[in-house]
């Protein structure tokens, strides 16, 4: 048996169970949409055969950002808004690692908004999951940038004043966007399919996941949860494929080519019905880490020779 065959057999034998990706017991509230996201990600890790030691979940602060604690991989639960630059540093130092980012609508679209815009532009090979529940949960119900106008919260007791920002249209407006999708926590099958496509995309994949917060805004998505016709499934041979069982429920479908960015921007502007699927996918956008790490190995000799060459430029010889 050749070494290559042995390696393949070994890898094949390495299949892990769902339990092997489960970390601490989640402390989210009952009925929280984050549980659905966690399950989809654990299933993704198992099905894609990700080695736990080669996988890092990075997060900021907020309910969403507790997720790494519930995975049995490497995790980095950092500071508010800064998950993306931390993840970029990890990826640039270690392109061999699978890097995921879990962030919330406050973490990504408010305190970390600058990093969000630039992360899209860097287009590093990172899977970003925006847990968007339209509210600050961990700090107990304050308005977020994605809260619909009129949202009553502890800081807007008479209703919020501004129109919600759309993370999808913003992302699609940034240069180098390469993968933009939307999922909802209450259609787990599509959620799983979309995060799988996101993971498989080489570049920054941005998945906005509408996520229910029963504790603070329990009725936020009720109309859509109860009326499947108010969901718009985006199907395409290069995009989401809706299973026959699901087709019976979600009959409102359109064929959308994920390479069509103008149409993607139109669809992204729709709040009702809520689109689900891959809005944009362009595998040809270069990744920052590929542009920056141009095959130069850093060795003692390379450091020594470039160091000596630099000193030569500034040396005054006797």
């Amino acid at each position: 048996m050749s070494t290559a065959t042995a390696c393949l057999q070994h890898l094949f034998a390495e299949q892990r169970s769902l339990e092997e990706y489960q970390g601490g017991v989640p402390r989210w509230c009952k009925g929280c949409g984050d549980n659905a996201i966690l399950t989809a990600l654990q299933r993704l890790c198992r099905d894609e055969g990700l080695r736990p030691e080669k996988t890092v979940f990075v997060s900021g602060i907020g309910c969403s950002s507790r997720l790494p604690h519930y995975m049995r991989t490497y995790g980095f639960h950092g500071i508010h808004g800064r998950a993306l630059p931390i993840a970029e540093g990890i990826k640039l130092a270690r392109p061999d690692l699978h890097v995921f980012v879990n962030t919330g609508d406050g973490d990504c679209c408010s305190i970390g908004a600058a990093h969000w815009i630039h992360a899209i532009r860097y287009n590093m090979n990172i899977t970003v999951l925006l847990h968007d529940n339209h509210i600050y949960g961990l700090t107990k119900k304050q308005v977020s940038p994605t809260s619909p106008i009129g949202t009553k919260s502890n800081t807007t007791p008479r209703g919020s004043y501004l129109d919600a920002m759309s993370p999808l249209t913003v992302t699609l407006g940034i240069q180098n966007a390469s993968f933009v999708a939307q999922a909802v926590d209450w259609i787990p099958e599509s959620l799983f399919q979309i995060v799988t496509a996101a993971f498989r995309h080489r570049g920054l994949s941005f998945v906005r996941i509408l996520q229910r917060c029963p504790e603070f805004v329990g009725s936020m998505f009720e109309p859509w949860v109860h009326d499947p016709q108010r969901m718009l499934m985006l199907t395409h041979e290069n995009g989401l494929k809706v299973s026959p069982a699901l087709q019976k429920i979600y009959r409102n479908q359109i064929v959308h080519d994920p390479l069509d960015i103008d149409r993607a921007r139109e669809i992204a502007s729709s709040e009702d019905p809520i689109p689900v699927g891959i809005l944009y996918h362009n595998p040809a956008v270069p990744c920052y880490e590929d542009l920056r790490r141009a095959g130069m190995l850093r060795t003692t000799d390379s450091i020594r020779s470039s160091f000596e060459a630099e000193l030569d430029k500034f040396t005054v010889w006797p």
Binding site: F76, I79, G89, L92, L97, R292, R293, S302, I303, V316
Partner: protein, 632 residues
């Protein structure tokens, strides 16, 4: 006959060449006229002859300030000496100015010695603009009245004899004059021109050499004075670089792979240089979208790989502090360079100050112990980076290296370092972690724990900025919180035990000890030498480690009757009517030393944006010694 011999043949017999121990020269022009290139070249030639040299840039804050304006002065101060020169010295002995306005700024700031020799471009006297001609006339009259020895030099018209655009070549004419006035070797000067225009055509080199020789000849024939600063050629190769280049070379030599930064004066030139050279050996500079991202990026890179560095200045440091606190809490090694400038807020971006010490020591909320080092010379900027990387990695700590705008742009020759493989970071550990090992298995004595790097099988854990136990699980338990705090603090003590006591400059005991840190070292030691030559029992102590402080300092402080710190940050003036012992704000180091060693330490400080002069320090020391004598 070569050009040098030709010049020798036409020596001005009336010329008096005086041998001197040292000289301070300033060259001032409008921005873009090349005074800086002229000054750097003058310093390099003198360095190659074996003179001690220190050059300081005089930089306007704007890119294109208006011509002929006081604030627009751009140039160099060069101090050359027979012995090693460690600082920019006192007031200038000779100043060359391309117009009278740029010179005025220096005169008003008190940067010229009384009776200073001034070589002034004379073309403005005949300006078509009557306002300019009048300004020139008034200034010339004022300078003469104030006793300056002004020589009007027709630089423009002399250069026009050789080139069509004198504005571009005047600086080499001036270099030629300086070579004549300070008896520098013209062959070395020609080599220098070939070196600076190395990538350009021969024609350009030839035309600049012609200007150089013309300047030399003009000074030979028209100026009846000259100086010689005797020099002994160095026997070892010397490196001539500024502090920021030294920082960048230190990053390269330390084996760090990634530098994340955001542009900020006066730190950026370190990253410019690194951007140019780092990739050739597989490293890279990432210009992040902001200071916070630069810090977070470096933290991410450090967490997953080798120690990374972020280089900034005060305002950027303020923004990075939350990230630095995370690195402290999660015990991620990180090197942060703060090239200090004037503060607070935007302050004085191009000027030097030492105002960030307390911020970097105590900054970031909560108890956030980190290592703080201060580079005191340009050579030290280089070695500090290597030491910082090693400490960060050994202790899983944040190490802040303080430099400042003075060191950043000053140049001084120092022995060329010999590359040492031990400087480099070891490869990252990807072995499985031992069975049962925990990511924060704090040693009860040293507080140290091993670092688990992603990729290590069996080491999976979620690192967090929340309080956590040995397994990195979030824990708000009172015992666990204290355990973590305890371990992170102990690491400083563990490092402190490895440090050697600093050496006293001068005698080990005496009447007055001067304590300093950072870029003031050269000026402080020079003033101690001067005071000792006058018979005073004065010594100095310079601290490279500010946190932790090396052992043995207390004993040293107790061997002197008086102790004073000299610093470039604010301290209240005891003579102010409202200031007394109960409210006086001391300089940063004085405050730290008083608190730690319970010694009544005085301070003197200056925040004038320029390097502290040895003469100013001597005046303070004389006053303090006299006051003590009166008392006893």
């Amino acid at each position: 006959m070569n050009a040098a011999a030709e010049l020798m043949g036409s020596r001005n017999t009336a010329k008096q060449v005086v041998t001197i121990g040292e000289a301070v020269v300033e060259i001032m022009s409008d921005s873009g006229e090349g005074a800086q290139k002229c000054g750097q070249s003058f310093g390099s030639i003198a360095a190659r002859m074996g003179n001690g040299v220190w050059t300081v840039e005089i930089i306007p804050a704007e890119i294109q300030p208006p011509a002929r304006s006081i604030a627009g002065a751009s140039g160099n101060r060069i101090r050359i000496g027979s012995k090693r020169v460690t600082n920019g010295g006192d007031e200038a002995d000779l100043a060359i100015a391309f117009n009278e306005q740029v010179l005025l700024g220096r005169v008003n700031a008190g940067e010229l010695k009384p009776g200073c020799i001034i070589l002034l471009e004379s073309m403005w006297a005949d300006s078509a603009d009557p306002k300019i001609a009048a300004q020139y006339g008034e200034t010339l009259a004022r300078l003469l009245a104030e006793g300056y020895r002004v020589h009007e030099v027709p630089m423009e018209s002399e250069c026009r004899k050789l080139v069509s655009d004198p504005r571009k070549g005047k600086n080499m004419f001036v270099l030629g004059m300086l070579c004549n006035l300070y008896s520098l070797d013209m062959d070395l000067a020609r080599d220098q021109i070939a070196f600076i225009f190395g990538k350009k055509a021969d024609k350009i080199i030839k035309s600049n050499v012609a200007l150089l020789e013309a300047g030399h000849a003009w000074a030979e024939h028209n100026l009846d004075f000259g100086f010689r600063v005797p020099a002994v050629r160095a026997t070892e190769p010397q490196l001539v670089i500024n502090g920021n280049t030294a920082v960048a070379l230190g990053v390269l030599a330390s084996g760090m792979d990634i530098c994340a930064m955001y542009p900020i004066t006066p730190a950026t030139s370190a990253s410019h240089y690194l951007s140019d050279v780092f990739e050739r050996s597989g490293g890279l500079v990432h210009q992040a979208e902001d200071e916070i991202a630069a810090c977070a990026f470096a933290i991410g890179a450090s967490y997953a790989g080798k120690v990374a560095v972020t280089i900034t200045s005060g305002p950027g440091y303020s923004l990075k502090q939350e990230g630095i606190g995370l690195a402290v809490m999660a015990e991620i090694p990180l090197v942060v360079v703060d090239v200090q400038r004037g503060g607070p807020s935007t302050g004085q971006p191009t000027k030097s100050e030492q105002s960030d010490l307390l911020t970097v020591m105590f900054g970031s909320h909560g108890d956030a112990p980190k290592v703080v080092m201060a580079a005191s010379t340009i050579e030290d900027c280089f070695h500090s980076m290597i030491t910082a990387r090693r400490i960060a990695e050994t202790f899983n700590m944040v190490v802040v290296v303080l430099s400042d705008a003075s060191l950043a742009t000053a140049q001084q020759p120092f022995p060329r370092p010999e590359f040492n493989e031990d400087w480099l970071a070891p490869p990252i550990d990807q072995n499985p972690v031992p069975e049962g090992a925990k990511p924060y298995d704090w040693d009860p004595v040293t507080g140290l724990s091993r670092r688990f790097v992603p990729g290590q099988p069996g080491g999976m854990h979620t690192l967090t900025g929340l309080a956590h136990d040995r397994s990195s699980r979030v824990a708000y338990d009172p015992e666990i919180n204290e355990q973590g705090m305890h371990a992170r603090s102990l690491k400083l003590a563990a490092l402190q035990k490895m440090l050697t006591p600093p050496k006293v400059f001068g005698d080990d005991e005496g009447d007055l000890l001067v304590v300093g840190w950072g870029s003031t070292k050269g000026a402080i030691e020079e003033s101690v030498e001067r005071m000792r030559a006058e018979g005073h029992k004065v010594s100095s102590l310079h601290l490279n480690f500010l946190q932790p402080m090396a052992p043995g300092i207390k004993e040293i402080l107790h061997r002197f009757r008086q102790v004073i710190t000299i610093e470039a940050n604010w301290s209240d003036l005891p003579e102010d009517p409202l200031i007394d012992e109960t409210n006086r704000r001391y300089s940063a180091l004085a405050m730290l030393l008083r608190a730690r060693y319970l010694v009544d330490i005085d301070c003197w400080s200056e925040v004038r944006g320029r390097p502290i002069k040895p003469g100013s320090i001597c005046a303070v020391l004389r006053q303090r010694l006299a006051r003590e004598e009166q008392r006893s």
